[in-house]
Amino acid sequence: MLRIRQELVDEIVAHARRDHPDEACGVITGPAGSNRPERFIPMLNAARSPTFFEFDSQDLFRLYRDVDERDEEIVVIYHSHTATEAYPSRTDIQFGSLSPDSHWVLVSTRDPDDVEFRSFRIADGEVTEEPVEVESTATT
């Protein structure tokens, strides 16, 4: 299960809307070992494509260095599908299998009035959808 604060969900959706019709991507980090998404980090889609995303390699290097220095982990890797459902594609499964410890969050912006927000675990080529529990932001 992914437990995530409402404001972080809102940030992801806003980023996806902003970059539509290109795919938007980014991560949410949290303290190492916590599985708790806390720090929202939108990333540049180096592919600038409506059907593909990729973190820029220098941005990726800096992200990992930063995460290491802060003793964090990448809790969530998110991206948008802009014309199809929020479900991992074959490409997502290939790349997602490399980050089995992160929640693979997908949003779809195909409907301008409605947003699909779903979370998956991807490991060894297998996709498992998981429930998303959104917490109100009032606490913390």
Binding site: E23, C25, V27, M43, A47, S49, P50, T51, F52, F53, E54, F55, S57, Q58, L60, F61, Y64, I77, H79, H81, T82, A83, T84, P88, S89, R90, T91, D92, Q94, F95, G96, L98, S99, P100, D101
Partner: protein, 100 residues
């Protein structure tokens, strides 16, 4: 002196859980062959059948992506740090060549 190679979580099954290992070689290709002698199977996760770097990993010499240096032929020397990271990519298009 040797070359330090930082291993991402997903590949630590090849290094007995170690986050970093040491190796030697004059080029990145040599270094990976040297590592493979002690960590069998690792090279296949880094280098494709055509001998070039695998699409699914990013490899950095110190802080520079080796794709912008000499790829697998990039010269390396003692004291260098090589960092391997899983590429983060995906998207609605089916197949890894789509959209590039």
């Amino acid at each position: 002196m040797a070359i330090e190679v930082r291993i991402p979580t997903i590949l630590r099954s090849y290094t007995g859980g170690d986050k970093a290992v040491e190796g030697k070689g004059d080029t990145l290709g040599d270094l990976f062959a040297d590592l493979d002698a002690r960590h069998g199977g690792l090279r296949d996760r880094l280098v494709g059948g055509d001998g070039s770097l695998n699409r699914f990993v990013n490899v950095y010499l110190n802080d520079e992506d080796v794709r912008f240096l000499g790829g697998i032929e990039t010269p390396v020397s003692d004291g260098d740090v090589v960092t391997i990271l899983p590429a983060v990519a995906g998207g609605a298009a089916e197949g890894t060549t789509a959209g590039g």
